[in-house]
Symmetry: C2
Subunit: 209 residues, 2 copies
Amino acid sequence: MKERILAEAERLFWKYGVRLVTMEDIARQLGISKKTIYQHFNDKEQIIYQVIADKAVKNQSEVACMTTTASNPVEEILQVLNMMQKHAEQVSPNLLIDIKRHYPQAFALFRQYKEHQIMRSILENIQKGISQGLYRSDINPAILARLRVEQIELAFNSELFPTDQYTMHQIQHELIHHFVRGMLTEKGFATYNAYCPKPSEYNPTINPE
Amino acid sequence: MKERILAEAERLFWKYGVRLVTMEDIARQLGISKKTIYQHFNDKEQIIYQVIADKAVKNQSEVACMTTTASNPVEEILQVLNMMQKHAEQVSPNLLIDIKRHYPQAFALFRQYKEHQIMRSILENIQKGISQGLYRSDINPAILARLRVEQIELAFNSELFPTDQYTMHQIQHELIHHFVRGMLTEKGFATYNAYCPKPSEYNPTINPE
């Protein structure tokens, strides 16, 4: 039952944010009573906390899997984009804002996940890219990893990116491709171009005419 | 006298942030009494407000000047970097944090400057770059301009970039070069490479071997 509650809560939180979803809503969707939910969780914060904890573990193993199967760091980062976009399509921009404003423990957990796992994955990606000659050797990995990590929250900021003007998909796509391209060497561009769909307008090569 | 007070306050604020500098400090440096300062300003917030207002006008005309003299958008953005670095060398990372936390009117003015003038300059730069074939035609100018504008505050965030690990100069350099490179077309790279000092390690060309 605990797993069913978490799965349904996740679906609803992702779709509407956390604040608008009540314990009642979750119970109704599952055809159970609120009392059953309270047998497993004290309050909504405990549910969102557990959802984030589970999500962090799951995302991390997806990323670890990509790191193993991708043949190079450029492919790896573009696979992570695909993964994010699959999630992003379903996600309400309210989600992170609600958590930040109203669920401090859950937000602290997200921050911790961001500062540790995500940061480390990005740093490793950058260092691998440099050592394979795909990213410039003159970049500062720590500064750019920080930039990338901050972009994750930036994309959720609907004051900066009003939801009636941009989709999350569009923002993530724009930011990640720009992020990768800014690091590429000539060799890196050859690899990058091989992974990107390229109508000539869409993805001009940097190779010679 | 008002101009002398503003000039000295600016120098002290830039060096130590706003909070640590007292009206007494400003008076002492100028060899005047505090009373003389209070003849011109009600409080420190009024001084920092005026300093920012003057700075915004001055910066904006420097940028306008670069836009006129630079022969292309890539040169223009790299000149703005030089200008920022000249200022950044002298600036305390406390400055923006102090203003954000303790001087709401001054911060609102900075925000307004950022949202209007800076945003517009960046957008114009991106649009010109695209129309001249130096930046990719498939980028979304509004999303990337927003990214760049947010990087300005990011660089000042000493929780993210601890001052014992990074200089402002280093952060700005890294972020702006990465920002420009992420937008460049092949033609853009040729132009960019012509403006950058290039020990081969430091600035690898993207042109063919």
